[in-house]
């Protein structure tokens, strides 16, 4: 329990595939400074447009959002899922159920780092059985977080189909996983890191690309 971390510390400000960025120190002020010096690849307007487009694409592909459940992967997938749900509600007039899915207990890198605090898992009251679940995350990188999410989802029920929406796809997949809806394809090198900031968690909207320290 050595690794217990204060509860409300903003986690994973630096985002690889929703936090499984290998060597990126979560707490390093140096790296944060480094990242904040990075260049902006998505502005607030571009993020808004990308989410609107994804919302339309989800509606198109699911024939009007019939039976769709949005599940955000903490930390930043959750506000993204809420925004998408709100957008879909605006476009179609019918609300889409939205929740969160914590994948911590299903990760394959648990033994590589100290035990982490669990995040919220909130499944909409109707559950996921027979639904089209759209997993929502901020950055798609190695694909390991998504694999963990698929496992976690398996324990919750049996969706009719599972799709994946991400704000940024930065490449470097280590598993046979791809996204169905992508905000921006961002070719990166391993040395770079992508940092997603959202108003709900960070006070502002933007996506930054910076060099990883060391």
């Amino acid at each position: 329990m050595c690794a217990m971390r204060p509860e409300h510390e903003p986690k994973r400000a630096v985002s690889g595939p929703s936090g499984d960025q290998e060597a990126v120190g979560e707490d390093s002020a140096l790296e944060r400074a480094e990242a904040s010096a990075g260049k902006t690849v998505l502005t607030p307007e571009e993020i808004r447009r990308a989410l609107s487009r994804i919302a339309h694409e989800i509606l198109e592909r699911t024939h009007g959002g019939e039976g769709v459940v949005l599940l955000g992967i903490p930390t930043r997938g959750v506000p993204l899922a809420r925004r998408l749900a709100a957008r879909i509600g605006e476009f179609e007039g019918a609300p889409v159920p939205c929740g969160s899915l914590d994948v911590t207990m299903h990760r394959d890198d648990l033994r590589l780092r100290p035990a982490r605090a669990l995040q919220r898992t909130e499944v909409p009251p109707d559950g996921v059985d027979g639904k089209t679940v759209v997993l929502v995350d901020d950055v798609l990188f190695s694909g390991r977080t998504v694999r963990a999410a698929l496992d976690a989802l398996n324990d919750l029920g049996r969706p009719r189909a599972v799709q994946l929406a991400v704000l940024v796809d930065r490449g470097h997949r280590e598993l046979p996983i791809r996204a169905d809806y992508v905000g921006k394809n961002l070719p990166t090198s391993y040395r770079e890191m992508v940092r997603v900031l959202l108003t709900e968690t960070d006070g502002e909207d933007s996506v930054l690309l910076g060099e990883r320290a060391r």
């Binding site: 329990m1 050595c2 690794a3 217990m4 648990l110």
Partner: protein, 314 residues
């Protein structure tokens, strides 16, 4: 914080709150069709019980199994302990079998601490003599927060909560662990017991002491009744059970003195009719059954946080 859980004093406030928050998230797993998580797959948890136990052993076993760990149950009866094997030799045997965690209950205070020096895995104290029982204190704190903590509980301690612990404090490891943990979480603890059952140097504990139960009941949020531990009593601590019951037992009349929101707790096993009357134990105010189900999720949280990560932070 270390890789063992020997004493409630090992926990800082942030550690304790993290355990409660983790348990709160794990509570949702209990309501799912598949009540299992893959987190501790391939790990071995040994339950090493030198004293009788129903709740604690089964609770640890259920917790470890829900996290997919393998569980080996070991009780002193019917083992080589009956042939005179020492704790150390038993521990080394278990070590050789590759135990990642040892849950120990032992009649001698300090047994868990000694064991921690002999094995490489984590040691979880499930009660050592009259010393400590930290997971019981954690599940009690979790139950208090669940019942009285209001809506947004995540990240909160138990600040300002008034807790009255009544009965055989002298022999109670539950009381000791609770006092230490509740103080860290910000609760105000009051101990009420016959003078003969108040521990030596209780004035050094982070709590207050009273001998007047009725006065304390009127202003408490939680009353926790302790079992009168006849099996540990080597002398006459009170004249008769009847007299004990009349002065320190919780019956329906006394329960009526409690504020409306107050809850009644008991770590179990109960002596119905001694420290707690049957109608009190079965009343809606009693959290005794909730304490048992919370025991499993709190122990899952502790096992996850001790074993689920990489160990010591560099």
């Amino acid at each position: 914080m270390k890789r063992h859980l020997i004493s409630a004093a090992d926990l800082s406030r942030s550690d304790a709150v993290l355990i409660l928050d983790t348990a709160a998230e794990l509570a949702s797993v209990a309501g799912r069709p598949i009540r299992k998580l893959p987190t501790l797959r391939g790990m071995t948890v040994v339950n090493l019980f030198y004293e009788d136990s129903t709740r604690t052993r089964t609770s640890f076993e259920a917790a470890a199994k829900r996290l997919s760990a393998d569980v080996i149950n070991f009780s002193a009866k019917g083992s080589s302990v009956a042939k005179g094997e020492s704790l150390k030799d038993t521990a080394l045997t278990l070590e050789a079998m590759g135990a990642d965690a040892v849950v120990i209950r032992h009649g001698a205070s300090g047994a868990a601490h000694r064991l921690a020096g002999w094995v490489t895995g984590s040691v979880l104290n499930a009660g050592d003599g009259t010393h400590e029982h930290p997971t019981q204190a954690l599940l009690d704190a979790f139950t208090m927060r669940q019942r009285l903590g209001g809506v947004a509980q995540r990240g909160n301690g138990l600040d300002g909560l008034r807790v009255t612990i009544v009965g055989d404090v002298l022999h109670s490891r539950v009381a000791r662990s609770n006092v230490l943990l509740l103080a860290v979480l910000g609760a105000e603890v009051m101990l009420v017991a016959p003078p003969t059952l108040m521990p030596y140097a209780v004035d050094t504990w982070p709590c207050k002491v009273s001998y007047d139960l009725d006065a304390e009941l009127r202003k408490t949020d939680v009353v926790m009744m302790l079992r009168v531990q006849q099996e540990r009593m080597s002398a006459a601590y009170f004249p008769t059970v009847r007299e004990y019951r009349r002065r320190y037992g919780l019956d329906a009349g006394r329960m009526a003195l409690l504020p409306d929101h107050a809850i009644v707790m008991h770590p179990g096993p109960m002596n119905r009719g001694v420290e707690i009357a049957a109608e009190v134990a079965d009343s809606p105010r009693s959290t005794i059954v909730a304490q048992v189900s919370n025991g499993v999720i709190v122990r899952m949280a502790v096992l996850y946080l001790l074993l689920g990560g990489a160990g010591e932070e560099a």
